[in-house]
Amino acid sequence: MNINATKDLLFKMADDALIIGHRNSEWTGIGPMLEEDLAFSSMAQDKIGHALALYKILNEVLGEADPDKLGFMREEKDMKCCHFVEYPIGEYDFSIIRQFLFDHAELIRYEMLAESGFQPLAQLAKKVKGEIKYHVMHADTFVKQLAAGSEEAHARLQNALNNCWHLALGIFEKSELESDLIKDGTFAGEEELQARWLAKVTPLLEAANLKIPATNNDKIALGGRRGYHSEYLKPLLDEMCEVVRTDPAAEW
């Protein structure tokens, strides 16, 4: 097994989960209604939990630093998250469409990883699949509900989908060590994930009467997996890590 390829996969998954978890938690207290505020906050918490579990594998199995250090003490250029998760929460339409596109990819990724030859990851995939299934159910139900609502609701969803599409395609940016992951049987690869994701989300969006924007390869938000991020990551990291970085040795 190519250890570096596996580490790269774990880092990008963990960083995605940490950043989207932090972003979605920004809705806590200002959600559109009480029930949704609670549900969205819980799911954000789940994401932080997934990040922790992945950092733990990096730490306990692959010899990286402890999870707190991996989550809070790395520089922007060392982060492997995609641009999609970095974007501000915007209005609720953006956050819901992002959840829809991102979590469908997550669910399929973990389904694929349940077959991974790297046992710690296969075990984790089986453990978290129920949680992500609920996240996807939440997003699907919201998209269906809003798309069938008023003209404004539908227009907002379509607009959010237009804004999210090329960001979402950035999820599937390949790493340089991708071929080793496939060869080792660790992960079947981003290309297959993207194909399965597209086959899953297309009929759902069509059923909601939403039009998938034409893909322009030049517009896909790439770079995150190699440490080149959107302008939004740095301020997020500064805020998220501000307290812990003032005294990294403090006991909590």
């Binding site: 200002i30 029930e35 609670l38 549900a39 819980s42 799911m43 269906k144 509900q145």
Partner: protein, 123 residues
């Protein structure tokens, strides 16, 4: 009128008070029932506000099964629950007096207990 809570501002209270806007007109309440084990009874635990049964179930999951074990949840639109009118409370008024319907109230109970006690003493 402005508040520190953006949700309050979003309500557009001035127009609400003037009757121009009906708040949450698309939301109704759903009664939530929680079952902790397959086969056990589903117990009423509260309500959620939602525009559809599907979303009510999604909300119920985080509202009422955040902790402990859950086998299933049910949601039922509140307006679909058929109940007695509060004016009919008098139909239940004398029930607490009918102690003869409670097996524990039977005189024979005393005799059973006396027998058990005696039996225990001789053992």
């Amino acid at each position: 009128m402005s508040s520190l809570d953006p949700r309050v501002n979003r309500l557009d209270l001035k127009r609400v008070l003037e009757g121009e806007v009906q708040t949450n007109s698309h939301l109704v309440t759903y009664e939530v029932f929680h079952q902790d084990k397959r086969g056990k009874q589903a117990i009423h635990v509260g309500i959620v506000h939602a525009p559809s049964p599907e979303l009510a179930l999604v909300f119920a999951k985080e509202q009422y099964s955040r902790r402990g074990k859950t086998a299933n949840l049910w949601v039922v639109k509140t307006s679909d629950v058929y109940t007695f009118s509060p004016a009919d409370d008098d139909m239940f008024e004398t029930t607490p007096e009918k102690v003869f319907r409670d097996p524990a109230a039977y005189k024979v109970r005393d005799r059973i207990e006396a027998y058990q006690l005696k039996n225990k003493a001789t053992n």
